[in-house]
Symmetry: C2
Subunit: 286 residues, 2 copies
């Protein structure tokens, strides 16, 4: 197990908001994550919510802008917010686009050179990071859930759908619901996995929530999707929540889609409704 280095520690809502760095084995680079540790008066093991951020974010966006600490302390839950991609890997072009490479790992395991050596965010989020959290903090491995925003909403949905029983529930703000059908997803999947959208390869469907839900065989827990109706990326067809909801209905997987009049894609929107999501997760995390 690589060593954790504490980068920052700030008391917040009776608990502590910390940031750590560590050498990731599956990503082969230095990674940072934010973690909120609630006051936890009884010193018992706490449930853990994993938060996956969107394009161009680091761990800082959620930690500083979402106002999550008040909810996390209220429900006595640990919240882990990792970075969104490997960093500083010296891959040609890694910093050229906001929607590919650094800040845009898409929570998948790349299979194409030169990305596959480092860009394994799916394994990092579902295996390496939880092992680190469970080994180093008072986290209950039996009570974890996942949520995210935009690219991270896509990440949360696929991590949940591909691992029945691993997460007690999932929710997402403005998730990229059907990446094989939108420009962001097509660019990322073509670059990391190969192939193209004219004949979608199985590897793409394997990371597409709308494809995955059709064969989901986990226990029927409400999937909570939140969507601002003034979201510019909704209008541009990058998010496609209706495709996901339709697939859920066909597969008889329960889903809640909350549409929010006037709200956009920003953390102002997330902060407004994050308390509702924590309440939803708390029901399942116990």
């Amino acid at each position: 197990m690589s060593e954790l280095k504490e980068i920052s520690c700030n008391k917040s809502f009776d608990g502590y908001q910390k940031v750590f760095s560590h050498e990731s084995k599956v990503l082969k680079c230095l990674m940072k994550f934010g973690i909120f540790l609630p006051k936890n008066e009884d010193s018992q093991k706490c449930p853990v919510i994993y938060w996956l951020s969107g394009l161009n974010c680091t761990e800082q966006n959620f930690v500083t802008k979402a106002g999550a600490q008040q909810h996390a302390n209220k429900y006595n839950v640990i919240v882990v917010a990792p970075d969104t991609s490997p960093r500083g890997c010296n891959i040609p072009g890694e910093d050229d686009s906001y929607d590919f490479g650094s800040g845009a790992g898409f929570y998948i395991d790349a299979t194409l050179d030169p990305w596959k050596k480092h860009y394994n965010m799916y394994s990092y989020i579902t295996s390496e990071l939880p092992a680190i959290i469970n080994d180093n903090f008072p986290a209950d491995p039996e009570r974890q859930s996942i949520m995210g925003h935009s690219m991270g909403g896509h990440g949360a949905l696929i991590c949940y759908l591909k691992n029945p029983g691993k997460y007690r529930c999932v929710s997402a703000f403005a998730p990229i619901c059907n990446p094989t059908q939108c420009d962001w997803g097509k660019k990322a999947f073509a670059g990391y996995l190969g192939g193209d959208a004219s004949s979608i390869p199985d590897s793409w469907h394997d990371y597409d929530a709308t494809s995955l839900v059709k064969k989901f065989d986990g226990s029927p827990v409400d999937i909570l999707i939140d969507q601002g109706l003034s979201d510019e990326f909704l209008k541009k067809g990058q998010l496609l929540p209706d495709n996901f909801v339709q697939a859920c209905k066909e597969a008889q997987v329960p889903v809640i889609l909350n549409k929010r009049e006037g709200y956009d894609h920003s953390y102002y929107y997330i902060a407004t409704f994050l308390g509702e999501h924590f309440a939803h997760h708390a029901k399942f995390l116990g």
Copy 2:
């Protein structure tokens, strides 16, 4: 009246968080301010809280990190968060220090060249900005109050103490309470006002909350001071809240000093207790 230009608009907690720019007459430069407009269902005039930020901040720090919108909407109050200094004035050295010049206007009116042409934040905060707010938004000029952080806590205190009746109440997080006695204040006052700390000029006392409270003749409203006990700047003697509280006692001005175990100087600390401050202000804003 100069024209306002809307820079951004995000729906947040049922209201709108906006940022505007305008040409300031007293600062002779382009300035930005954040403003939260609550839902205000009855379309009545709302009370206004002015928030003054600390060293090195722009209007963005409070707007993105404090979580103020939830409280502002709850109490149906407008919140105005101006920038902390003139910007881009081409004064030699204006960007050289974090604690003098850009980002460090100290909410005073400078009297020394080359600063006095632009650095008139006291007049901006107490006169020009409220006039703009009252003319352009549904703000009730009879119901305003002021709060701030660090350098902005100093600003809030002096604006309140120098203008009995103008603000219904005041509160401050980790304010610079006695700038004539700390390094930050001595540097700023010497640079903007002239003189030095070996023989403190009257002009310095005129912008020092601990000096001002001794001759305060306004109505006795509790002044609320909040202070984290793990604040590095408290330890370094930059804040000196005990000097202010002692002066309040001698002048029989009611003051509340809330000491917060383990909290530092950051927005994590501010966000934790901001709801208490809004509740305090709401009592006086009606």
